[in-house]
Every structure is written in C-alpha cells, then in structure tokens.
Amino acid sequence: MGMKALVIGSIGDAGLIGLAQKVERPEIHYLLIGPGDATQLGRYGVSKVYQLTTLIDEASLAETLADLVSKEAYSIIITPVSKYFKTAIPMAAQKLSSSLFVDVVDIKQSGDTLEVVYNGIGNRAQLSVRVSGKVFLMAPPARFKPSESPVSTTIETLQPKVVSAVKVVSTEEKPKGKVRIEDAELIVSVGRGFKKQEDLKLAFELAEVLGAEIGCSRPIAADLKWLSEDHWIGLSGHKVRPKLYIAIGISGQPQHLAGMMESRTVVVINNDPNAPFFKNCDYGVVEDLYKFVPALTKKLREILKK
C-alpha cells in the first residue's frame, strides 16, 4: 500500500480527494463532517468514511483529529481553507509535531518524502518544499478533480472528544449576498476612493452598462460594510480571474493585487498618479473618479446602445 491519506470536509468538499490521489497507490479515508451520503465517496477510491454528525468547535475537532490521525497513522491530512479549519488544524498539527501548508497547488511523492507546491509570500510566489513525516494540507476543493476508481466503503460514526476551552455565548448571522465573484467575466471593483456609500451608485451604473459584477477592496466590505463580503477581493477575500477588471479608487496594495492578479485585462482609475496600482495595470487613467466614471458610463451607453 502507498501513503495513507485523510480528507476532511463536508460532502461538497470531495474535490480534495483529487489532491490525495496524486500520491502513489494511496489509501484514502474521508472524515465527513455533517450530513451527506457517505457511500458515494467509494466511487473515488475512498475505502473508509468516518462520519461526524454533530458540529463541534475547533478545539474539540483538534483533539478528535489528533487521536484519529495517531490511531490510523495517516501521513497526509487534507482540508478546505476556512476560518474553522484555520483554527482547528494548526492546533492538531502542533500536537502531532507536523507541518501545515495552505493554498496547496500540487503534491508529488518521492519515496518517503513529499514534495508540496503551494502559493505563498502573500500570493506572490509559488513555493516548492520537501517534507518528511506527517503533513497537513489546505486547498480549495474546486481546484482538483478526483478520478473514479470505485471501491467498497466502510462507514463508521466518529465519537468526538469534546473539550470546552472556548464557550460560544451567541451567534449572529451576517447578511448574505448571492454574488459568485470568482466566476465573473467582467468586474467593476470599488475602493476607498469613494467618499460615501451612496456614491457607489456610479460604479453600479457602469457595471450595469457593461454587464459586470461588483467587486471591492477589504475596507469597503470589512470596515465600512458598504457591500457584503461576497464582493471582497484579495488575499483575505475572493480570488478572481475575469477578462476585464476595472479598479476604481483602489490604491493597489499587494494584498489586493493577490486576489486579482490572474485577470486578463486590468484597468485602473485613480486620481493619484503615484498609486501603486498603476504599476500593475494594462490601462491606467489618472483622473478623479467622480468626473471620469459618469462620463465613461454615458459614452459606453451611447456606443453599446444601452
């Protein structure tokens, strides 16, 4: 048998099995959190599913996982990227004296060691490292396509080890948007150059003429809450790759660039000729957005007959 891998996630995270399949003849198990038909995972070669039916807090997951990983002697443990896992997994990894890599792109096995390729240094570089021993990996499930190699699956309910380090007092849901900005072909993105929330109307009108989605920098969503977080682009927000990205009143800090670097054509509108974004654009317009954006929208409306 090859390396033993554990994939952790909901039923929708099964894409991560594709990453586990990259090692030679892997034995793949799945820790299924929440509901879902565990038997269907057998299609992708998952020989055993542990099911965790109750949602537990991060510290409890870390404890439960540390025990499970020791018992099963997994050498690779894979999870999606989320704040839940970013809290639980480092604790488990520390208990097990293992490394953790986030935003993994690829893995390659050579003997006992694993080569891990991941995005790092503020998403400005791809690093390749060699690790021996157990390793934890985080990646977006949609990045991988598991291939089919059906096996029969055994299913076992996992009894969590619940610890009560942190007590949840209350939970308040956030307003939910319904934009999937990752899939947008055209994006009009707004930043702190807009003085008031009402002024975003200028960008909405431009987006409407173009048929574009609205994106934004972190302060617009996180500090000011002018837009819901599904619009947030960057290192800590969504990663986008549209055909056209129009950044209006965004300075172009590296943490913003990290989320839109793969855009095909980048247009920047900023009244400060020294804004860093001008060094990372295809077309840069030095102008006050309050004058330029309405004029651009008007002209586009004319030529696109909208």
């Binding site: 704040k83 970013k86 604790m91 380090a165 942190v166 007092v169 956030k174």
Partner: protein, 264 residues
C-alpha cells in the same frame, strides 16, 4: 496583567526583490506584518485599562542573521514606541526559513521563560505567510484556549470575551485566562507614535534569545526547493493627458482593441 503581543518581521511583499524566475529573500526588506500592529495596539489598550505590562515576542525567520540583526531591532523599536514595555527577539540559525511548527515551539518556550502570562495576542495572519497558524499553534503548545479572528475584545474579571468575525456569522465567545487571541485588521486603528515616544523607545530593552537560551534544539523538517514568482506582464499604458472626455475616448478605444467591448 502580563500581556504578550506576537510580532512577525515579515517580508515586505510590496518590495519583493525579484527577477522573472527568482525571488531573492535575503535582499528583500522586512517590515512589521501589518496586522501585528493591531495586535500590539490591542495589547496596549488592554494594559492601559487593567494595568500590567506588554511584552513583544518576535522570532526572526529571514536571514542572513548578520545582516538582519540591526534591521530587526530597529523594526521592534517601532512597536516599543507605540507603547510596548519590552521586546524579546529570538534569533537562531535553526529558525531561518523554517516552518511554523518550530516557530511556535520557540515562541511558546520564550513565553514560558517569561513566567507569568495572562493574555497573548497575535495577528489573524501575516502578510507573507498568510497562514493564520502560528497563533493557534502557540496556544496548543501552551495548552491554553485560542480565540481566533477577533474584532472586538474585552476582559471581564478572569476571562476574555470576544467577537469572532467568521465567514457567515459573528460569534461571541468567552474563555478563562490565560488565553490566546488572534485579532483582525478591523479591531482597531494602530497608533502612530509621536517623536517623543520614538526617542523614549530607544531606552526600552530588547532582549535576544537563542534556542539554547530557551533550552531547545530544533531541526527544520521542511526544505525549500524553489521559490518562483507569480508574475503577470501588464501593458502599463497610462492615460494622463487631456480632458475627461478625451480620456474616456482613449480608454474606450483600448477596450475595443482588446475585444472587450463591441460598438453596436
């Protein structure tokens, strides 16, 4: 209260020294990882409310050590000038380019060496690593609770009450002290120290610790094979001259040429 702020001297990702095929880590300047200023700010605010001391701990991750020592100390002076009481700089060849497992072990050992501690504050993530793992790792190493992604925090007697900023919800949590908290960028606005404090900070102590001082001997389990820049070539056409209407026309021409819009 004894409060500890964890500060990383991170690669300045806005000033990476790179060619098309390589990033030169040794030549890239360091800076205080942005959100760690928020961590220090929050530590100072808590101290000013409940009394006590703020200690800063930093483990140097980038070499060459000879060249970085001076740079590291003058960066730590910036957080001392904000109001932290003293700083501990862990410098050891074994930590250079090492992974977060050994960083957390070294930091936890330094915290234990300090003796008493009530509250440890880290950033939600660094600008270069951006992994959010060092905080929870240190908590696990010390066996204390971790409250992550916190955007509001207060001390109530012997416990910490915090608002966690999660993807779909804001969660209010509490835990007994000692505890570790990681803070988001939105928790506060870090102060910019006035000149007088910058001068006063020159007198504050920065203690250096090696792994031997901490009774540790660590070996990195990770070997970096390559670092390839992710770079995209951009046209860099700047439209600066003319009236607003002329600029609009120039941009629209460009978009037509790129095949992004088609006049009807």
């Amino acid at each position: 209260m004894e409060i500890i702020a964890l500060v990383k001297l991170a690669l300045d990702t806005g000033q990476l020294r790179m060619t098309e095929t390589k990033i030169d880590l040794d030549a890239t300047p360091l800076k205080i990882s942005d959100i760690d200023r928020n961590a220090v700010e929050e530590a100072i605010r808590v101290r000013d409310k409940v009394g006590g001391k703020v200690h800063v701990i930093s483990a140097l991750k980038y070499g060459p050590i000879q060249k970085r020592q001076q740079e590291a100390e003058s960066l730590l002076r910036e957080v001392l000038a904000m109001g932290a009481d003293d700083a501990y700089l862990i410098i050891d060849e074994a930590l250079i380019n090492g992974d977060q497992l050994i960083t957390a072990k070294a930091i936890a050992a330094a915290i234990k060496k300090l003796g008493n501690y009530d509250l440890i504050i880290a950033g939600e993530a660094t600008i270069d690593g951006y992994t959010s793992q060092v905080g929870p790792r240190v908590a696990a190493e010390l066996g204390i609770p971790a409250l992550t992604f916190v955007r509001e925090l207060r001390i109530e007697g012997n416990k910490v009450v915090a608002k966690r900023d999660l993807e779909d919800a804001v969660q209010t949590v509490e835990a007994p002290l000692p505890a570790l908290v990681t803070v988001t960028r939105e928790i506060n606005v870090p102060r910019i120290p006035p000149l007088l404090q910058i001068r006063a900070a020159m007198k504050k102590p920065i203690y250096r610790l090696s792994l031997a001082d901490l009774g540790l001997s660590l070996k990195p389990a990770v070997e970096i094979r390559s670092i390839t820049p992710i770079q995209v070539k951009r046209k860099g056409v700047i439209i600066k001259e003319g009236t607003v209407e002329e600029k609009v026309d120039k941009l629209i021409q460009a978009l037509i040429q790129e095949g992004l819009i088609t006049p009807r």
